[in-house]
Amino acid sequence: MPSLNYVAPTTVNDAVKILADASGPTRVMSGGTDLLVQLRAGRISPELIVDTKKIPGIMGITGSAAEGFTIGAATTGAELGDHKALKAAYPGVVEAANLIGSKQVQGRASLAGNLCNASPAADSVPAVVAAGGTVTIAGPTGTRTVPAETVVTAPGRTSLAKGEFIVSFHLPAITGKTSDAYLRFIPRTEMDIAVVGCGVSVTVDASGTITAAKISLGAVAPTQVPVDASCIIGTKLDDAALEKLDAAAQAMCNPIDDKRGTIEFRTKVAGVLARRTAKIAYDRAQART
């Protein structure tokens, strides 16, 4: 019968060593809300589970809007939602994390797990990417910090090497009138996997003109896709700009037909969400003083 071990290292170095030395299939565990589902369904058969939650710093949020934020990799969505300063600075990232699963799931689920599970439909990924998020990875060769969008390479696959795991996420300092938003389309009002997800970050100047923007779509391709924001930069997000954005978003889609949506539906709704999400991010940016 297959055997499964569990270990909960108390330092980064111990964790790296265990992961690097593991001989059989191994899984890192933060919140476990994807891991346990896959384990029970028999979709994965690890021999070792490495629980990171006892490592100091792996849970918790430090920093501020002025300095930027560092978020421990296993910090729960619920904690993110309770953090007033983070929510005020990055409403899009927080609302995305608070859409994963249910309130129960958010009591455990983490940004690291959501990213490394590498589902095309992960809710927090488009928001973190649009916000310019980076991740710090610890491994046998030391630590490295990379843009969040470089981690997922394909559905279920990441660019992490053996022995590596994510220790923290970073969101940049807020400069100027910048804010973000995340919207997703689901058939019900909660509980569904995103049929389309959209994260947008927008910076406006004093006149209300967009000077910078980053847009990421989820669930419409094997990994998140960027949408070329140039069609809205230099505009005040008028109807013409929104129409261009809709078309640009649709053009980036490469979705599949599955039980959650058809290619046609996902593509059209991607355009709709891009417009609506950009509008919310724009209004939030405008409201910054």
């Binding site: 569990y6 476990g32 346990l36 589902v37 369904a41 629980d51 309130k103």
Partner: protein
């Protein structure tokens, strides 16, 4: 692999048990500790019938490994009443007929406690979105929401 010894606190009582590494907290509660009030509806975190509170945060016990419970404080449905005094939430569920088959009820009561501990005066929308992770097939949720509102009012001293 041999079982792991887990020392934890459940409903205010120190408890210890042996768990297989891959076993869920739900399985440990039900099968090892005989706390069968927490239910399995789906085993995959989609129905909320297995809701417990860990260190003040509600979660699905089917999504937690039993071995993770060590050193933490867990509240289950069996810990909501104080001895033979029902919690206002439990009384209001009964008075408002907020249960029919009652299978989802433990999960809803624990989730409601987590809600009202954090937000003593939730709006109807806040209640519905907080409880969206708890499926009920019998009631259509109407009387459950009313029971939560009623309990919240009493707990606020209304």
């Amino acid at each position: 692999m041999s079982k792991i010894h887990v020392e934890t606190t459940i409903n205010g009582e120190a408890m210890e048990f042996l768990a297989n590494p891959g076993e869920s907290l739900l399985d440990a509660l039900r099968n090892t500790l005989n706390l069968t009030g927490t239910k399995e509806g789906c085993g995959s975190g989609d129905c909320g019938a297995c809701t417990v509170i860990i260190d003040g945060r509600m979660t699905c016990s089917c999504l937690v490994l039993a071995v993770e419970a060590g050193g933490h404080e867990i509240t289950t449905i069996e810990g909501i009443a104080q001895g033979d005094t029902l919690h206002p939430i439990q009384r209001k569920f009964l008075e408002n007929a907020a249960l029919q088959c009652g299978f989802c009820t433990p999960g809803f009561i624990v989730a409601t406690k987590a809600l009202l501990d954090k937000n003593p005066d939730p709006t109807e929308t806040e209640i519905r979105f907080w409880l969206a992770g708890n499926l009920c097939r019998c009631t259509g949720y109407d009387k459950i929401v009313r029971a939560v509102q009623d309990a919240a009012a009493e707990m606020r001293g209304g």
